[in-house]
Amino acid sequence: MEFVITFVSTNHAIKAEKLLLENNQNVSVMPLPNQIKAGCGIALRTKINDIENCREILKFNRIEGFEIFTREEKSGKFFYEKVCE
């Protein structure tokens, strides 16, 4: 299982990616999953061990409106579940 973080805009996602990488968090950019939000933008994904740190860093840096989802693969398909805002 891994976590997906979405943002209010792609600009916020780019800012968040930079902040998290600067704070040594293991995140990478992915296409915004259609199952979560309609759009052609981007989201971030990270492993289970890093998600709490990521959330703290984003909150500390006042990144507004981000949402966290779990992503699990079952039978070749991805399933998403909202964890928190």
């Binding site: 943002f7 209010v8 805009s9 792609t10 600009n11 916020h12 780019i14 800012k15 990616e17 930079k18 950019v29 992915m30 296409p31 915004l32 939000k37 309609a38 759009g39 052609c40 933008g41 981007i42």
Partner: protein, 370 residues
């Protein structure tokens, strides 16, 4: 050629600017949409440009820098997004048409703050113009005609006292004069003048969130099925694919300023401008406009006797290959104030990349023509 039209655009730029644009053309994918390397490269460099501009002006949130195609577009978007026909707005006699025309288009009630014989706009007179209905002050930080600088901090203090929102046009000053967030609520800038960026760059700097009306709509990458454009900064102003190639060039221009030091750049430009002023102030029949007793922009606007400014700059070009600007510089109210509507003014504006030798040649050329 000797180029003395830097208030119009900075022709000579750091070599890193053109190199960056060429590199971007060859390597940038679509910004703000794509998750693959080339798209992310563009998005990350655009964000880096927001960071450097924020650093230059003392802004703490890079996403409050929105890119536009020019200062003119920035002013149109801000004025169109905030001001309506029911508003009373104070502006100044020094404004460019990129302020005056959008204000008229909004249908608002416009009050124009005049200037003294040296072109100075005084804060004491500003306060007298304010009424209970005044909601906005739109001011020109530096005049592209006289080179005078508005005391923005004092104007902003008055604005805050009367709950007036202040919009500052920093087209002529950013990159030359220090800009700070204590000067206004919203700043509109161009990239291709003193920031050394390519043409087609400019933007809006907003200290905080404002209730902008949406005046431009399109795709943004997220919330595709929403009926209206996002009102988040910077998305509300950044519709369609950004000019990422030129924004990357602008980043290198701003980087040059930060590395060189704004103070050093200003001191050199100021020294060249003062040298030019000293060299031409005793020309026979010369009239020089603006206040040269205080800190000012590096430009000199003048007329010689009754020679139309267009003829003066034409002769300078044909006989000496000196490029200067004639006419009204898109500032109609100021030319009416100085009685120069007919003949205009010849404007000489200087860059960090001009030399003392070029200034001496310019002075000699004017003495030959006078």
């Amino acid at each position: 050629m000797i180029y003395f039209d830097n208030s119009a655009t900075s022709l000579l730029k750091p070599s890193s600017v053109s190199k960056a644009v060429a590199k971007a053309v060859e390597s940038f994918g679509s910004s703000g949409r794509s998750f693959y390397d080339s798209g992310l490269l563009a998005s990350r460099e655009i964000y880096r440009t927001r960071e450097l501009i924020s650093k230059l002006v003392g802004l703490d949130e890079p996403l409050n820098v929105a890119f536009t195609s020019s200062a003119t577009e920035a002013l149109n978007l801000v004025i169109g997004g905030l001001i309506s026909k029911d508003d009373e707005v104070v502006t100044t006699v020094t404004e460019h048409n990129s302020v005056l025309r959008p204000l008229r288009l909004s249908g608002c009630d416009i009050k124009v703050l005049g200037c003294d014989e040296n072109g100075n706009v005084r804060v004491e007179k500003f306060e007298k113009l304010i009424t209970k209905k005044t909601r906005f002050f739109v001011g020109n930080h530096g005049s592209n005609v006289t080179g005078n600088i508005l005391d923005a901090k004092k104007f902003y203090d008055v604005c805050k006292k009367h709950d007036i929102m202040m919009i500052l046009d920093i087209s002529q000053t950013v990159g030359t004069i220090e800009i700070g967030m204590e000067m206004a609520d919203i700043f509109c800038f161009t990239g291709h003048k003193s920031l050394f960026g390519p043409m087609g760059t400019g933007g809006i700097i907003s200290k905080k969130k404002h209730d902008f009306k949406i005046v431009k709509s399109g795709g943004a990458g997220t919330n595709t099925f929403e009926e209206f454009q996002s009102q988040e900064m910077p998305d509300i102003f950044e519709v369609g694919t950004l000019n990422a190639h030129s924004i990357y060039g602008l980043q290198k221009g701003v980087e040059f300023i930060l590395e060189t030091g704004q103070k050093k750049i200003f001191e050199k430009k100021n020294r060249l401008s003062k040298m030019f002023h000293d060299g031409v102030k005793n020309l026979k029949g010369v009239t020089i406009y603006g206040d040269f007793s205080v800190e000012r922009l590096p430009l000199v606007s003048l007329n010689i006797a009754n020679i139309p400014s267009s003829e003066l700059v034409e002769k300078l070009w044909t006989s000496h290959k000196i490029a200067a600007r004639a006419g009204a510089q898109c500032a109609p109210l100021l030319h009416e104030r100085f009685g120069t509507k007919e003949k205009g003014m010849a404007r000489f504006s200087f860059s960090y990349f001009n030399t003392e030798d070029e200034i001496e040649q310019g002075i000699k050329a004017l003495w030959n023509l006078s």
